[in-house]
Amino acid sequence: MGETAADPDLPLVTQARAGDFAAFEQLVSRYERRIFATAYRIVGRREDAEEVVQDTFASVIEHLPQFREESKFYTWLMHIAVNHALKLLRRNRHGTDRTMNGESSDSYSDLPHPQFIAPWHENPSVIAENHEMQRLLSDALDELDDKYRTVFVLRDVEERSTSEVAELLGISEANVKVRLLRARLQLRERITSALGDKSRQVAADHRHE
């Protein structure tokens, strides 16, 4: 197991691998809500998130005998879930320009410059309690390109490291960083345009050359 801390799921995984459905069910209960929430943020629809959860645990059943304990069970599980979410996005977005666009690299050139710059009129913890605001957040997330949204969800919401996200998505760390920046800039713009305090707006033509 190297220097990594022991995997807390290992006892249940071992029992499940030996054919114990109850042990497997405990693993499902432990992680289904987290997988559901992450999948929902990536795919954007409840029915699709349910499909991702279902396909993820079905894949776990199929591949459990091959699970090698080289990574933690949760990391392995999340890897499977992200792959199913991406597969579903590709299927749903077929023929549109919002797909993941393979591994193509994004660049730092032509970054969208912040337009509406103003402090928010309320504190994030107050805003988070408001239903209308939750709608705004989910709409803004949904408007992001899939490739930006996926990186944002894994990095900033799930708090996975840059290297983990690069591995999960099969892209370079540099690409994770630039996609994250583009996601953050777009979300900042959208949310600040709704929550920014106009009386304290600062120069929109602010440029550095």
Partner: protein, 86 residues
Amino acid sequence: MKCDELLKALNEYVDGQIDPAICEDFANHLAGCNPCQVVVDNIRNTIALYRSGERYEMPPEFHDRLRKQLREKWSTVFDGESQQTH
């Protein structure tokens, strides 16, 4: 620092993963640049908002449906295997 360089630095500054040399330049810049301070603050708030935001609750009926489907899947994989004779 130019805009694109600042934006790139900003991302790493928010993550606390910035090269110390660039960090100093960036911190100096921030100290004298209110718009950049506000942008950094907006981005931090945006992240905080999504992190503390909506819990996507699993529908209760899905909980049962999922169990049923997984139990079926389980029996095709595990029980199917145990019934095979070699």
